[in-house]
Point group: C2
Chain length 220, copies 2
């Protein structure tokens, strides 16, 4: 597994390839870089050029992409449009996904009005809180509902993603409620290390922790 040219048994890039998590993690970055190249009118790209942009070696690039079929032509590189379309299909980015926000305080409202989600196919279709003074109000045309309606809403509105914007002390119980309701992926803005069962993915958005890991280097 140490060289860049691996023959997979799944040369059609079908969904049943068992792709390591660390490779899946990198795919959105490939999609972003390839989309920018396509927008610049570039048709073909070499693993060397991709490596430069992604701070990876050409061998790593070739190894990652070998999981999904044989895109590269010897000496010509990768077809940008074909590769980006394939990677988007693999990631499930060739469709849209419905998300809900739990916690419609200051942070939740900022997330609801964040302009970056919709263009990438992530639609925020429901908002929840437990605060009676917020329930019934609207944020960006999104009615705030009682958290007790979450399970019903997840089914009715086909919600796959839960965005958690509640205070730290409430986060784990909200996450448990999302898991119970059938949510498969959670984007957690609460500053806690939360737990989910193995079948539910969770990612943390934690700007304070990002800052805290950089101040070590600022000291000197």
């Amino acid at each position: 597994m140490a060289t860049g040219s691996i023959q997979t048994t799944h040369s059609n890039g079908s969904d049943d390839v068992d792709v390591p998590d660390v490779v899946v993690e990198r795919l959105p970055l490939y999609v972003r870089v390839l989309t920018a190249l396509a927008a610049s009118g570039i048709d073909m790209v070499s693993s060397e050029q991709l490596g430069d942009q992604l701070h990876m070696t050409p061998a790593q690039i070739r190894k990652d992409l070998s999981y999904f079929g044989r895109f590269g032509k010897q000496g010509r590189g990768y077809n940008v449009a074909a590769l980006v379309n394939k990677l988007k299909a693999i990631l499930g980015l060739d469709r849209s996904w419905n998300a809900c926000i739990v916690g419609m305080g200051r942070l939740g409202r900022a997330i609801a009005s964040y302009p970056g989600f919709a263009p990438e196919g992530f639609k925020i279709v429901a908002a929840f809180d437990t605060d009676q003074s917020l329930i019934g109000t609207s944020v960006d045309n999104l009615p705030v509902r009682s958290l007790s309606h979450i399970r019903q809403a997840v089914q009715e509105d086909d919600i796959a993603i839960g965005i958690v914007a509640v205070p730290a002390v409430a986060a784990q119980s909200v996450i448990d409620a999302l898991v119970d309701a059938g949510i498969g992926a959670i984007l957690n803005y609460a500053p806690v290390t939360a737990h989910t069962p193995d079948h539910v993915k969770i990612k943390n958005i934690d700007p304070v922790m990002s800052l805290q890991s950089m101040t070590y280097y600022l000291k000197s």
Copy 2:
């Protein structure tokens, strides 16, 4: 380096220990967990208990902490208060840090009003934009200034951290301006893979990319 009980030559945990980046990355998480334990009235904690909370093995915990001195007592565990104070000092979290935001559109304004920074010692003291219609306005009592004043402001206000909230196309040039102005750490909210010189740290906050790496698992 494979066992959990390493004798360091820096038993006083002084700043000149050469700590791997990957360990520095984890320290804020230790601080958070230990702070929560202290708030619960817990005085001593074992590496096993810390490992449970942090999803790490006790050996990894002991190895990480061995870089900073000898906190653990055989069979008794770590003194929570002493350890959290030491780790905060090592990370530079025993003082406050001044930050500025560049880009005061919708995203920048949401960041400016994010309630999580100040309690952790991160003060947003300046805001910049290039849009003449925004310059001179105020957001949360923060006057929006022209980006051309960045170098002067960084020096006058002792700003160490730059928060980037501009559109993707403008991000690299803004980051270059922050680096030129003497900023040492950048928190980048623009959806780009930006470049900085080695002496300037950068972390990306990218909720869309976090979502995109989870949809792979939602498909099935």
